[in-house]
Amino acid sequence: MRPLPSLHRWLFGRHRDEQWPLVLGQRRIFIVPSAAGLLFALVLLVMLIGAINYDLSLGHALIFLLAGLGLVAMVHSFHNLFGLRLTPGRADAAFAGDLARFPLQLENPRRQQRRALDLSLSDQPVVTVDLPAEGRATIALPCLASRRGRLDPGRVTLATRYPLGLFRAWSYIHPSWSCIVYPKPLRTPLPPASPATATDHRQGSAGQEDFAGLRPRQISDPTRHIAWKAVARRSDEQALLVKQFAGGVSDELWLDWSLTPTDRDSEDRLSILAGWVMLADEQQACYGLRLPGQQIAPAEGSVHRANCLQALALYATGEAQDAA
């Protein structure tokens, strides 16, 4: 619990920010003396007492200079944030247990550099960035994706102690961003391919093992299918050749919820399914996904993989399933 929740809400509890780029104005910037600043003030006080007691005129001058330095440092800390322009980007999906990264673009419109800007999502590691004069930088804010689903990283804290560490100026930015967190893949062997729905005559033969010829490479062909020997032989040719395999109509590989061990809990079963998806994708298999009440038709490629993993990520989270 925070003390004085209503005060806290009044001060910091803003709605999500909608207008981008967001320009940090004075109403968004908070500034308080840091622990070092309080120590500095205490040191100055003790020094002042000493200077008075020993009647040190230069001592007074030193103390007053340092007091002025403290005030000036406050202004500089504030200006290190003031006028900064921020634009959030779209976060890529991550696996549970990994770090999700939320991109944020910072733009410094003024002609002085800004230094030592500490950015962090709540309770997450801090990223420190310097901005050159009239420069910009895009940083990826790490956020530990602890469980599958949709991850809302909360607000960003943008803080700085530059230049002297005597003050901490900070601001909160709360973009309405989120990312999909896939279940942590659990590596288990793939289930056996089931006969294709339209059962054909080529039972039992895996579609990637029967060499059928060469053809020019399409952009979507995996590199491992490139027929390097053939390419080397025909070095004058522009196009790469790929090996074509028989078995385009192979058995359908169904990654089915019901094939997962029933004695595991549902999160483990989703993890097993995610592991299968990863494995099947690595083997460039054509696979479909069956979840209770949901089915993704067999296909292959990275878009398909993302669809499957997203379905697993959002399974039974209450979010509408658009990929079906």
């Binding site: 500095f40 030193l62 000036v72 202004v75």
Partner: protein, 655 residues
Amino acid sequence: MRLRQRPPIDQGAVPWLLAVALATASPHAENLPPWLSLLFAAALLWRAWLWRQRRPLPPRWGLALLVLGALAGIAWHYRSLLGRDSGVAMLVLFMALKPLEMNTRRDALVVVMLGFFLLLTHYFYSQSIPTGIWLLASCTLLTAALIRLHGGAQPLADIVRQAGLLLLQALPFMLILYLLFPRVSGPLWGLPQDAHAGRSGLSSEMAPGSISSLILSGAIAFRSQFAGEMPERADLYWRGPVLDSYDGLTWRSSAQQTGRPRSAPAIESKGAQYSYTSIIEAHNQRWLLALDLATSLPAGATQAPTLEVLAREPVRTRSRFSFTSSVDYHVSRVEAAAILQQALTLPEALNPRARALADRWRSRPPARIADAVLSMFRNEDFHYTLQPPLLGVNAIDDFLFGTRRGFCEHYASAFVFLMRAAGVPARVVAGYQGGEVNPVDGYLIVRQSDAHAWAEVWLAGEGWVRYDPTAAVAPSRIEHGIVAALPEGEPLPGIVGLDVDWLRQLRYRWEAANNAWNQWVLGYNPQRQREILSRFGIPNADWQSMSASLAILCGVALLLVTVWTLPRRRRADPAQRAWNRYCTALARRGVTRAAWEGPLDFARRVAVERPHLAALTSEAARCYAGLRYGQGNSEQLLVLQECVHRLPARWRKNA
């Protein structure tokens, strides 16, 4: 909650912090025992080597042992750990060893703060111009170290420039504070009890209540150390200003009128001579509070015709003076006529009853008259109290025949008045009486609460003879001090009884806090600050006007610094502004240029969506693109601006 982690120190900042240690501590080498300077140099070199080799820092227990050993060395060298010089030595020791356990940014901050402290201690030894320049240089270095510590790696020139900029902006604040910060003249623990009593100590006049306000202060007036024996407590009369002019209300020193140069007063010492040294706290007056009567004076001091010892300049800082005094003496058997005349002057037409009483004694010998007054004080219903009733215009009459309650100033004043009225030269002497011996160091400590006033009478053939009428009323005041003399129930100066209930305690505390506030906030207008301020056209500056101007000027300076560092918004160039106006006008008609859309793309889209604007827009876009991305010339700018004007005026409104 946020993670509470101590950020480790940036290794690149280490040389900066070592430079801080070197710059702030090395000038002390001439005042330090050589072994400590060597230890300092060795520790710094060791740390630098560790940094260079990227080795781990030594274990803490080792450093602790080193600190303990060095502290013992300092204690042995200075015979104490409490003191200015040993304090500086300890700071240097910490500055030497702290870098060896500098792991986190917080440790580094401690080094910088130690550096600030060490800078201050330089001024114990020197406040010359080079030291002042060194101040700015080392402040720049310390600021730069802080910037490096918090700003990460950056070019040296950037760090120094930023530090210089910060200090440059801090300078106005320093000047304002230096000029206007209500100054306190040190030491802090010798402050006046009452802001209206001016400076701590006696003043050159004695108005009703001026001594009693002094008496309530436990602040130290001076300390004395006797070379040999000390006189009896009852003989400890420390002479301050001689007040020989009376206007019916206030006794004043007439030194301005009679203080012309004169040969030294004729002193015939009868008894032992006492040699002693006094450390007098700053009281901003010239008198040196010698024991009555000084026979040899410190260098530069003079003895006034009225026998008080005067320094050449007012005592503005705590200073040390040596005297020899005799407590049994004859002085000025032959006295100047002007001084005797001054010692007989009384205001006309005041205190008729006292005059009548004195007239009856006129025929007696002067010594008998004095005895008569003292026996009156002793035998009639007179009381000693620090809370006397108020007196009217005829103050002496009211006191002698009415209230009969008062303390030294009343008794001395009445006594001298009666003597003068009876035709005997007499004067009031203000000063201190008594003191207490501190058993620890053997110094006699005389506090403001020992302030006293007594009388001197000139007797033909004997010279000036001291009479203390207070002693007649309250002998214990002279023999045991003020606390013993006061009746029960009166607040005791400096000492509060322990058997009071908690509510009274609380009230005393509250009053003390109020008092402290008055002293700290209201009380300090040291003369020099006044002089300077009046030169700047602020005569009679009080703390309110000083603080107000301080706040206002600091606010203005802060505002200026803020504006100075405000991010300068770049004004868009004319081509950009014209293009923006054109696009804004079109947006108002429903064709909004997307942020990513280049001018030519936009013109193509406009041509599709608003065919009637196709030609104009393509012209504008072509000009803008030429200005922005091509060579660009002034003609294109004119054409672009012309395009804006060719749009209907109502679209351009407020654009």
